[in-house]
């Protein structure tokens, strides 16, 4: 299981669920002076960028993945990409690459070759903007994801299982999301069940937690809820998490609390990895 080839002939899908409710207006904990909606929009833009770069080859981005971005806030549950992709529920990765809403310039610190760091300007594509309004229809979002994933699996029953990533503060107010999450995780290809991961942004000032294997030690009820909704990492993903320095066990789940989750892009195999000798 979880060993199907991911290729243009046999692509898989990513579904991103983006919490756009009013509570996302609040600042994230841990000393950062950033709103939760800024953090999740930034995280999603970075994930899409990493995914695109991972699949880039000469003169194009290969469609190893299709992508769905579903926003949820207030009475809205639906496509959340901005720019020319607005309104589209499922987009091949090459279209994501070709159509960010805009390219921003950001600076990042890179080694200067002499032991120090120097600031370098890099292009940062934007596909989603921060939104924070209304209630948190997470049940609605998970139900919409079921529909998108089901449609995909009907057409590609042998694909590597779809990956759904929910970026949220966990404060659902349209019911208990546990059941819809379980229903989503039960949708399966011949290669395994859909993977549901959760990125929890919280105003709680507890330290970040990445890929825990138990709800013990999670700081609040929302973190525990999202942890229990999250899939266990398949073996090979657990190995990659371990390489990232995460202490893993068979119970390790696809859940992070106030932490970066861009690494999940690197948990997926599309061919020989480009890594330096160690």
């Amino acid at each position: 299981m979880y060993s199907a080839e991911i290729s243009r002939a046999n692509p898989t899908m990513f579904v991103f669920l983006l919490d756009q409710s009013a509570s996302m207006q609040d600042p994230i904990g841990g000393g950062e002076v950033q709103r939760k909606c800024d953090v999740v929009a930034d995280a999603l833009n970075r994930l899409l960028s990493e995914l695109t770069i991972k699949c880039a080859k000469e003169e194009g981005v290969r469609d190893y993945f299709s992508v769905s971005v579903i926003g949820y806030g207030g009475s809205n549950v639906g496509p959340a990409l901005a720019g020319s992709l607005a309104g589209q529920i499922l987009v091949p990765l090459s279209a994501i690459a070709a159509s960010p809403a805009r390219l921003e310039s950001r600076t990042k610190k890179v080694p200067d070759g002499a032991g120090g760091l120097v600031e370098q300007e890099v292009k940062f594509p934007i596909w989603v903007d921060p939104v924070a309004s209304g209630g948190t229809p997470m049940v609605g979002a998970l139900t919409r994801a079921q529909s998108v994933v089901s449609g995909w699996l009907n057409e590609r029953p042998s694909c590597f299982p779809p990956v759904v990533l929910n970026l949220t503060d966990g404060e659902a107010n349209d019911g208990d999301p546990t059941g819809p999450a379980e229903a989503l995780r039960q949708l399966a290809s011949a290669d395994g069940a859909t993977l549901l991961f959760n990125l929890h942004v919280s105003s709680d000032k507890s330290p970040p937690i990445s890929f825990p294997d138990s709800e013990d030690g999670l700081p609040n009820q929302y973190a525990k809820l999202l942890f229990n909704m999250s899939s266990k990492l398949p073996d090979h993903m657990r190995n990659y998490a371990q390489q990232e320095g995460v202490a893993v066990s068979e119970g390790t789940r696809g859940f992070v609390f106030n932490a970066d989750m861009t690494s999940i892009v690197q948990f997926l195999d599309i061919g020989t990895r480009a890594s330096d000798l160690r």
């Binding site: 080839e5 243009r8 960028s49 594509p125 480009a274 890594s275």
Partner: protein, 266 residues
């Protein structure tokens, strides 16, 4: 020695011929397939990493540089050839970038990180020598990564290099980076060997998908050299492309660029 060499290759299913990223170089001039009467035969095989840009171009440069420099016997020779390849790479990228601009297809934002990171590939370079001064004929090889050489004698797998276990192939083999590498670390990863050969031996150089299949079948008591030995002869049931496709269909072989060089020592 009289060596008869044959080369076979097929791209990953779903990829075009232009997207094929393995490379082969056979001495004396890079395209030495066929019958070769020579006292020394050098060849190299490389496999560009899927997750890097310009990987095919990097693989082609590596086999040419390792082949022409006979970087086959020692770690210092390996490191020197690698240094040459790295030294030329910036010019290769500049030429590629200029070509893209001239074609009205400039580098896009999603290509920039990959070009900055550089290309990656495996390499295996080997040299076969006649016996001299009472010494037996010998072959030497240097390798980094999971491209393999297998030597078959008297219907047995006589030598495997550098991999000898079908389960040890992964998506993360050691790779040569076009951006350069710490040479002490590089030396630690480079494998070097020298062995004997006899008339009648057959050698098979191959990239990882075929090599994993080869070792797996050998480990289960099969004779993986049999279909490869027959390839392109009257005994062949299928041509190489169809045969590889059949193995892929049966989930016996990973869908990857697949390359084979067969050398029969006569």
């Amino acid at each position: 020695m009289l060596a008869i060499t044959s080369t076979f290759w097929v791209p990953k299913r779903g990829s075009s011929l232009q997207e094929y990223e393995d490379a082969v170089w056979i001495g004396p001039d890079g395209d030495g397939s066929g019958e070769l009467q020579t006292s020394s035969l050098t060849m190299a095989i490389a496999d560009g990493a899927s997750e890097s840009l310009l990987a095919g171009r990097w693989a082609r440069r590596l086999v040419e540089i390792f082949g022409t420099n006979k970087a086959t016997r020692t770690r210092p020779a390996f490191v020197a050839a690698y240094r040459t390849a790295v030294g030329e790479w910036d010019d290769e990228v500049a030429e590629y970038t200029k070509d893209r601009e001239e074609r009205g297809s400039p580098i896009q934002w999603y290509e920039e990180p990959g070009l900055a990171k550089g290309a990656y590939a495996t390499i295996l370079a080997a040299e076969f020598r006649d016996g001299r001064g009472g010494r037996a004929p010998a072959w030497s090889a240097c390798a980094l990564g999971d491209s393999c050489l297998f030597q078959v004698r008297d219907e047995l797998l006589y030598a495997s290099f550098p991999m000898s276990d079908a389960t040890s192939f992964t998506y993360q083999p050691p790779l040569l980076a076009s951006r350069g590498a710490d040479e002490a670390v590089l030396r630690r990863h480079v494998k070097v060997t020298t062995r004997d050969w006899e008339r009648g031996d057959s050698f098979y150089l191959m990239t990882d998908a075929l090599a994993a299949w080869f070792l797996g079948l050998n480990e289960s008591g099969g004779r993986p050299w049999e279909p490869l030995r027959d390839m392109d002869t009257l005994d062949a049931e299928l041509d190489f492309t169809d045969w590889v496709e059949e193995q892929r269909d049966r989930n016996q072989m990973n869908n990857d660029d697949t390359t084979l060089v067969r050398i029969d020592m006569c």
